[in-house]
Symmetry: C2
Subunit: 430 residues, 2 copies
């Protein structure tokens, strides 16, 4: 098995380099055919999924997991629509990011290129095969898909659809492969010569265990401990609205608010915010200074204020001004998304400048940190890494660049003191 | 010692976050003061350097290494000019890369931000302290500088200048620190929570050993096995010129040509190219098919064609067309820089599309792969990694991004079917 997965990765590299060098229409045709196949083979897909669901029902899989495992006609239609949309998009490869005329007849371009071979490790949701597989093909990457064993049969049929679409376009299907079993995935994680980027999709635990076991760059986030800071000059009505939205809109999301930082000067007005949260069903765990201002609150324990609850629980911590709030965020946050509520422009600016997180907001809910809401189109993931991609990541997260130089016989020795000088004329990119 | 370097890194993080949040003028003032200090303290700097040089002269350090270790008044002046230039440049931080109006009164910006804490590991050249230190400060990063023991005293005085310039601007000097001793550097390489990016400056061996010993992203290249491919339709005169320039302009450089790929159809015209190379003092190591066309050539051994000579030696390998050349480059190259010589536009395009290297050239010398020649301004390094930065890297290599969202109280729950819709209006960046 171990040997197999390495061979699969090597074949993926070869196939990827071929696919990446083909015109964009080839990749569009693959995606158009994939959309058709999802329709033509829907019966097979749903049958395989039923098999997985039956097995899961007999096991200890919890309700929400069964939901995520389940495919339906309507889910397939949504997937098909997404793939078709992607098929119609302009080719991202070869698009120039910069153009510089180094000299007459010596033109430099920096262009978008595929990253290479991606390893996607995901849990439960077989939809991920199509969502990430189609994004990878749009960007000319190879993709190895390692799903959870609970979705084995569903994933197999979906990977088959991807491979069929590729080979019917006359390309080597090895550009997409399924990877099965933990040992195979572990073997790949040890090979930074074979895999260029790992994208985990699943629990924080999954992400952490992958980050700890590989030197390959990982695009993802292990946790989202997001803060909402109520400044001394926060409008209490807005504060209540953003706290309730941040906590209750979707408590399990990574961009849900987990800690409410309350300026000590806002404490006298905390009551109405707390009442709105309590009415929305939120349990408030308050530090000693906030506690007297919140009837019915629970005293915070040691871990409150540094926990991703993923539930209707909110830590409430008191801070002494903007700088103390920023300091708290740096010490206890996860650099995912943090927001300030304030009517004071100077305080907002200080917060926006000072907080070293992927997303920093003023007078908006932490829940906006999301690729769709940011207008990025398809979301590849949310990254709390500082390198390559940060925050919500669109299709650009699957791209790197190459430098292309076209000359007419120039040597570097032609340039220098007393010889030719570079023009370095920056040209617009069209 | 180990504990110390971790404390230094933690203090660097705190100081960096403060410096990065200050207005650009503060960082400009630091650099302007640094330029002055390099003048005011030149006697101290040169004395410390003489001490290192004396010690090195008694050791076994080779001539070229002594050259690199040596500082002179004129080298200091060049450094000073570089720092002043950087001081006058517009602040790269906070510059918007994208601006999107998500809705009325809900504005998203993606802005340039410092990466965080950089670890620079370099050999011999104490100039690197000022070159990289000033680039790090311009971009609001903290920088830990680990030089070779042979330059210990020179590096100490230069790090002192940097720290003094920072503290005289009222900022915490911990944003710059020297790191001494191998154990201290190793301890830092084990902490991806403390260091965000490692930049090695030195031999391929140094880079490889660092890459193998850390999970922190490394910006650099271990080797440069660059190819020049003479296509069937190459102009022999141009081929000779680019081969000589690529090999002889600076043979020790990473972008020097190491392997000449000769199309079998070009073999009959190889003689004049070979003659020009031999006249320039190059030893040619030819495969069996090329050998008969090159009087005085040496038969290639096993490692020729997969070696970075760094010297006036060139491997000559025969290939069967563009695709075979591309295949050879993928198998034996280092994805640094590869070039084609051809009068045939279609062949050139196929090569530019198909070669998966950081820099791909047509009818130009591989020696052009360089930040200055690309017009990037100061060069941070050349990266053969595929993530974050690829090829010659300018100041952008020291930057990441953050997403800033400024609203007027919006919650994510306000949007959706039957509710408000996003505008997602892309605005120009000014």
């Amino acid at each position: 098995m171990t040997l197999d997965s390495l061979q699969i990765a090597r074949a993926a590299r070869v196939a990827q380099r071929q696919l990446g060098a083909r015109p964009g229409e080839v990749r569009s045709a693959i995606l158009a055919r994939l959309a058709e196949l999802l329709g033509e083979r829907s019966a097979d897909i749903l049958e395989a999924n039923r098999f997985d669901l039956d097995a899961a029902a007999k096991s200890t899989l919890a309700g929400p997991l069964l939901d995520r495992l389940s495919l339906t006609e309507s889910k397939l239609e949504t997937l098909r629509d997404g793939v078709l949309l992607l098929a119609g998009e302009p080719d991202p490869l070869g698009r120039a990011l910069t153009r510089t005329e180094l000299d007459d007849g010596l033109m430099l371009r920096q262009v978008h290129s595929p990253i290479g071979v991606l390893l996607i490790i995901f849990e439960s949701r077989p939809d991920a095969v199509i969502q990430i597989g189609s994004l990878a093909l749009r960007t000319g990457n190879a993709v190895l898909l390692k799903g959870g064993s609970e979705a084995l049969h569903s994933n197999r049929v979906l990977v088959d659809c991807l491979r069929l679409a590729v080979s019917e376009a006359g390309q080597a299907p090895d550009v997409v492969s399924g990877v099965e079993g933990r040992a195979a995935a572990q073997a790949l994680l040890a090979h930074d010569d074979l895999i260029d980027l790992v994208i985990p999709r699943g629990s924080g635990e999954l992400v952490r265990s992958i980050q700890a076991s590989t030197r390959i760059p990982v695009l993802g986030h292990a946790e989202g401990i997001c803060h909402l800071y109520l400044h001394a000059d926060a409008d209490p009505e807005m504060a209540a609205r953003l706290a309730v939205d941040g906590k209750c809109d979707y408590p399990a999301a990574c961009n849900a608010t987990e800690t409410l930082l309350v300026d000590r000067e806002f404490l006298p007005r905390l009551g109405s915010v707390a009442a709105a949260l309590i009415e929305a069903g939120v349990e408030l765990r308050c530090d000693a200074r906030a506690l007297p201002h919140v009837p019915g609150a629970v005293a915070a324990g040691e871990s409150d204020g540094a926990t991703e609850y993923g539930d209707l629980i909110l830590a409430v911590r008191t801070v002494d001004g903007v700088d103390d709030a920023i300091d708290h965020i740096h010490r206890f946050g996860s650099a995912h998304t943090d927001a300030i509520v304030s009517e004071d422009a100077e305080a907002r600016q200080r917060f926006l400048d000072g907080v070293d997180s992927a997303s920093v907001f003023a007078n908006a809910s932490t829940r906006f940190a999301d690729g769709f809401r940011y207008g990025l189109g398809a979301e590849v993931g949310i990254s709390t890494g500082r390198i390559h991609a940060r925050g919500p990541v669109g299709i650009e997260g699957l791209l790197t660049t190459r430098w292309l130089l076209e000359g007419s016989g120039q040597g570097a020795g032609d340039y220098g003191p007393g010889k030719r000088a570079f023009l370095h004329r920056r040209l617009p990119v069209s």
